[in-house]
Amino acid sequence: MTILSDPRGTMPMRSGIGEPDYGTPKSNSEVMVSVTIDGETHLVPEGTSVMRAAGESGCAIPKLCATDSLQPFGSCRMCLVEIDGRKGTPASCTTPVEDGMVVRTQTTKVAKLRKSVMELYISDHPLDCLTCSANGDCELQDMAGVAGLREVRYGMDGKNHLDAPTDSSNPYFSFDESKCIVCNRCVRACDEVQGTLALTIEGRGFNSKVSPGGLNFLSSECVSCGACVQACPTATLQEKSVIDLGMPTRTVQTTCAYCGVGCSFNAELRGDELVRMVPTKTGGANEGHSCVKGRFAWGYASHSDRITKPMLREKITDEWREVSWDEAIQFTATKFIAIQEKYGDNSIGGISSSRCTNEEIFLVQKMVRAAFGNNNIDTCARVCHSPTGYGLSTTYGTSAGTQDFKSVAHSDVIVVIGANPTDAHPVFASRMKRRIREGANLIVIDPRKIDLVESAHISADYHLQLQPGTNVAVINSIAHVIATEGLIDEEFVAQRCDPGPFKRWRSFIELPENSPEVVEAQSGVPAEIIRQAARMYASGKNAAIYYGLGVTEHSQGSTMVMGMANLAMATGNIGRDGVGINPLRGQNNVQGACDMGSFPHELSGYRHVSDNAVREQFEMLWDVKLMSDPGMRIPNMFDNAISGEFRGLFVHGEDIAQSDPNTMHVEKSLKSMDLVVVQDLFLNETSKFAHVFLPGTSFLEKDGTFTNAERRINRVRPVMAAKNGKQEWQIICEISQAMGYDMHYENAAQIMDEIADITPTFKGVSFAMLDEVGSVQWPCNDAAPEGTPIMHVDGFVRGQGQFMETPFVPTEERSNRKFPLLLTTGRILSQYNVGAQTRRTANVTWHPEDVLEIHESDAALRGIVDGQKIAVSSRIGETILTATVSNRVPAGVVHTTFHYPLSGANVITTEFSDWATNCPEFKVTAVEIRPADSSTAPLNDLEAVLTKA
């Protein structure tokens, strides 16, 4: 264990194997001031605390209530110092340095005070250090040593909290009140870092104690983000895994594999056993914060359901048979070749996974293009953010969000459209909430009253509660107001945008059909609210749009993305801190999957396969002839499978049978194929139709990179040995080789080298570089050697910004007499996507099943009560869910999550999709609901569905 310490060797800068802690946040001031600490003079930024200045200069000052993720508090009184010319002994955490200040941190006086404070602490603390779970990682223990406390003269018979109870209600951590030193770090972390404000101090004086409000942590507002546990200097709030397994002894820094925020974590191990995941302060995306998934829900990686040996079967009705890797690979290759020989080169294809590393994805698409010899490669981004790629590349020239996450700290107006960050992107949501609490305005455009609309110390200025499917109408009406009320940033548009398209767009958007008054009837949003929201967006200094799948998963998903891009250009909200168009990516590596050339029409770096120059470079590098026409998209593959043209599919880590729309159709197409190869951690809905199952590696075993929603390339490092015995990239290589294409790498770093070599936006990236700087945001090349946090600063990537007309074309999926309600879908905090991981963790405590949210009037009309089983039917299918009567949804709209296969949410979703990218229209399905009775067949049961079909 490494300890940074002062020259006297007494004061640790960190506890246990954690990161160094400077006590108070870094000052960003550019003004430097001179301060003399214990005789040595240092220059530090103005606003730096005496504590931090001392710590940075190697004279760390004792502390307990201070930690550099939180604002100084000044309560523990361990950090008292003497300052020349000042009365008494000020606390160094709350005292900012001043130019010429002379500080003494180690005087007899402060030493005595610190010892006395420590004596008081220990007089109300169990003396069980040796058997305590925090032994070795306890700041109280460290400080008792630093203070030189040898005796507690008060004795241990006085009033105390030693019998206080332990709250073990949370599945991941326990709260042992008897060890609490009331430093308030947990309460402050919940307020300042997480922004949930679930914790408080109850009582006063000696009776002050931390309280989650209500009965216990589990029943409280606590979202289990772990910030309090991380902030706790003692064993009071402690991971149960640490209590069970003991204190970790080493760390491996890696990246979370859940959502597109891409948090950096230190995986802390004891020997080879993972004990806990701790968010790293140096992580560019999360800066020390985490959510319940990344922090705690990693146990699935060692779940007994993990498949670790390859398996084969001739027919999907056969039992699985464990085989050797050689046999599995040979079987796969032989069968693919046979299909191609019989049905032609185009008869097979592959789907890459946004859950995998850039290196793995790059190889999957390389295998399809080079070994399969076609362009039938698509990725699961097809069903989530393909419209983002289309919309942003058309208007701006890059298929990616424009900002880094930090940017939101500079926003004055924040618009959240079709996204639910507090559930789906919680760590970014905390940043956003912090800014809103500081005073930024908030506009929410969503059919549902998501938590952001109204939560602790946060309230949306406007909530545009639109009917599902009317996004484009609403965004057009906002633009209409901006254009007709003289709110366009004419200077920005003149300087940065293509004038022809702008003129055309302007005359289009000013048409009366786009006015709020007309759109009110279509969307249900009052015209006046639209007008006020539009004015707020256009007149704020920095206005930023954040959006999610509520934008993209519509028949006009791409149009909506362009509508938002238009809006940002028209108001000049592009190209600096605090503004921009920002997709919140659902999966950890959606961005990377798109970057790596997973779409059938483009090679890595978003270069079309028809571009001869680009293709030739690849052909030269890969020594193979590539096809110049686009291949099949996922829905094309399904359709062509049913029609018999498409016979073999390699599915890399995606459960298409659960996650893609119209399950019946998907399953029918899978059944039609001669070879379905699934590579995954667990058997899943798709593997029911597979002939080959290739066990994959969890993120804890992978070596590579993920690229998050802010284009940040983060390292994923192996924390443990691959349970299946092979890295996934090796498996891809072996299949390719078995198919006759020579693909070979020594390690994952070599794959990145190849990516960098052939992809201009990645030119400067390598594992060595990432290991040195931590992370980098692409483009990273000669023009931007340190990466690009904010895009389009001086000009758009495509040159001039391109305004696009965005006519509102209502979806054909409408409510009608038979299906009078509109179903929309979303996620919940504790679960992730199809739930393959989170369902295999204690996260099920919070969300044991998918529920259907229904407005009380719709429920009453149908005689449905809270908690009742109900049948949900669309023109496509029927499923059974549990009703939750909730006014989060407006009348006429119902909502469900899709985390459990049993719920079969996609049994009822339709074949409609985005006109430009075929991203499915998950967010609008006309349904009817009735109480489920014995006559209701559970149609989400696979066989029942297929029989009916």
Binding site: G74, Y154, G205, F206, N207
Partner: protein, 512 residues
């Protein structure tokens, strides 16, 4: 028309003043007599003190009870006639005659809710003057007057105002601390009940001086009458355009609001008060930043005590020099002392700084109520030092008292006779701190509880030498290590009691 004055001050009410007023009103019949409710003169041992206006001046009748009313009428008290309760001309009363009432000049004399009464007794002159002056010169006047914070800290008011004036902000606040929580203090309450316009005027002037448009008065919930009168006075002030968008037709805006505390002693500490005003748990903030820079809702804020703000109108009306001329050394102007505890003549003594402790206790207070010898006095609230007879000659002032080991605090003086056990008093100080600590900083949160335990052990004779050393170490860490004055001052009564009266702690001979 004959005017009869009956106090409505809480102290008088507790002695039956309301009933007396009703009884008088009922007996008036057709006579041309008006009963006017006023504040109290501050001679609390005489309450209810009924006064009648005569050609010679206001004649007082002390300790009037309902039973006494008929005979007062029979004796023709309405003409100022003799009665056993008559004390003569009130203004000539020994207790009042030698006082220098500036802040309290109108208290007990005027109808607290009559703006006409207020104005005819010199009210609003300061505000009118201020409206003709620049912000800088108002602040200069306050600085030159030598006025210091009367809440206890004694920080020069003018310097605080200057800081707020110099700080640019879209919003600034004036917060009046009326969370008068010290034992033996009641001056704030008496002023708010007896002459609320003085405080309101002082706050408006402060607002004009520093550029604040909003004022808040934080009053403790134990003061229902003061809260009621303040609210009514604010309504009257709004009616008369003292408050609102245009103060007395000027370009200045000032709004005022009363906020009620929730029974926490530590909310009298200015930063805890700000937290409470913001709707949060009343927990002390670390300084810096000082509230003058980052105060209420993060905005520059003047926080002054009722007495400080109430001295301002007179300073503006009569000029800084007049105020500065009074007092002693660096303690300028008058101090409103409050005599309480075991005292014969308890009440308000407003005199210039420099009066000796002995004069206050003996001359004004008349010694103990029990008639037994005074053993000690505690000045400055429950966390003030105990002083013994040897301090009788100390001239009252911030520095001189500090030199004698005490502190002025809010000017409350609580007297004890020789039956008091000082070990119990020392224990009480620790107990009080344990009870009222906000729980933020360690020395106060844990130290106060340990303090009670250690004192108990000393008194029980357990390892006295070791425990005395421990108590001293504890006092040191509380005094030097606490976040605010709550924990910081608790050692004061403990150490002084121990030093002056070690015998009360049962300290065995030979133990040092």
């Amino acid at each position: 028309m004959i005017k009869v004055f009956v106090p409505l001050d809480s102290a008088a009410l507790s002695m039956g003043a309301d009933e007396v007023a009703t009884a008088i009103s009922e007996r008036i019949g057709s006579q041309d007599v008006t009963v006017i409710r006023t504040g109290s003169r501050g001679m609390l041992w005489l309450e209810p003190l009924v006064e009648v206006e005569t050609a010679a001046g206001r004649i007082g009748y002390a300790n009037v009870s309902v039973d006494m009313v008929p005979e007062l009428f029979v004796s023709d008290f309405l003409s100022g006639a003799d009665h056993k309760s008559k004390i003569g001309l009130v203004q000539d009363h020994e207790f009042l005659k030698s006082q220098n009432r500036i802040t309290f000049s109108r208290v007990g004399i005027i109808d607290p809710l009559s703006i006409a009464d207020y104005e005819s007794h010199g009210g609003l002159a300061g505000l009118r003057k201020a409206l003709t002056m620049s912000a800088t010169s108002i602040v200069e006047q306050v600085t030159e007057s030598g006025l210091r914070g009367r809440g206890g800290a004694g920080f020069p008011a003018g310097i605080k105002w200057q800081t707020v004036l110099n700080t640019e902000s879209d919003q600034k606040y004036i917060c009046c601390n009326a969370d008068e929580g010290d034992s033996g203090t009641f001056a704030d309450r008496m002023l708010m009940e007896g002459d609320p316009f003085t405080l309101i005027e002082g706050m408006i002037i402060a607002g004009i001086a520093v550029g604040a448009t909003k004022g808040l008065i934080y009053v403790r919930s134990e003061y229902p009458h003061a809260i009621d009168i303040l609210n009514r006075a604010i309504a009257v002030a709004k009616e008369h355009k003292l408050l609102g968008e245009s103060v007395l037709g000027s370009a200045f805006e000032f709004e005022l609001e009363v906020r009620v505390g929730a029974g926490s002693y530590v909310c009298g500490e200015e930063t805890a008060m700000l937290e409470s005003l913001e709707g949060k748990r009343g927990m002390v903030r670390a300084k810096p930043p000082i509230p003058a820079l980052v105060g209420l809702f993060g905005k520059p804020t003047v926080i002054n005590n009722v007495m400080t703000l109430s001295a301002v109108p007179m300073i503006l009306a009569d000029g800084a020099a007049a105020y500065q001329a009074l007092g002693d050394e660096r303690s300028r102007g008058t101090q409103v002392f409050q005599l309480a505890g075991n005292i014969k003549q308890g009440g308000i003594v407003e005199v210039a700084f420099g009066v000796t402790l002995g004069e206050l206790i003996d001359t004004y207070g008349g010694g103990t109520l029990t008639g037994r010898p005074v053993k000690t006095v505690q000045i400055g609230g429950p966390l003030g030092a105990y002083l013994g007879k040897d301090s009788w000659t100390v001239a009252m002032g911030y520095e001189s008292l500090a030199q004698a080991g005490g502190m002025l605090g809010h000017g409350g003086i609580v007297v004890f006779d020789d039956t008091v056990n000082m070990a119990k008093q020392a224990r009480f100080a620790m107990e009080f701190c344990a009870e009222e600590s906000c729980g933020k900083c360690t020395p106060c949160r844990i130290g106060s509880t340990r303090g009670v335990e250690v004192i108990d052990r000393i008194v029980a004779g357990e390892e006295q030498s070791k425990n005395l050393e421990l108590l001293e170490d504890l006092c040191e860490v509380m005094a030097d290590g606490s976040l605010c004055a709550m924990g910081g001052l608790t050692p004061l009564p403990v150490r002084s009691a121990l030093k002056l009266f070690p015998a009360d702690f049962g300290i065995k001979s030979g133990v040092k």
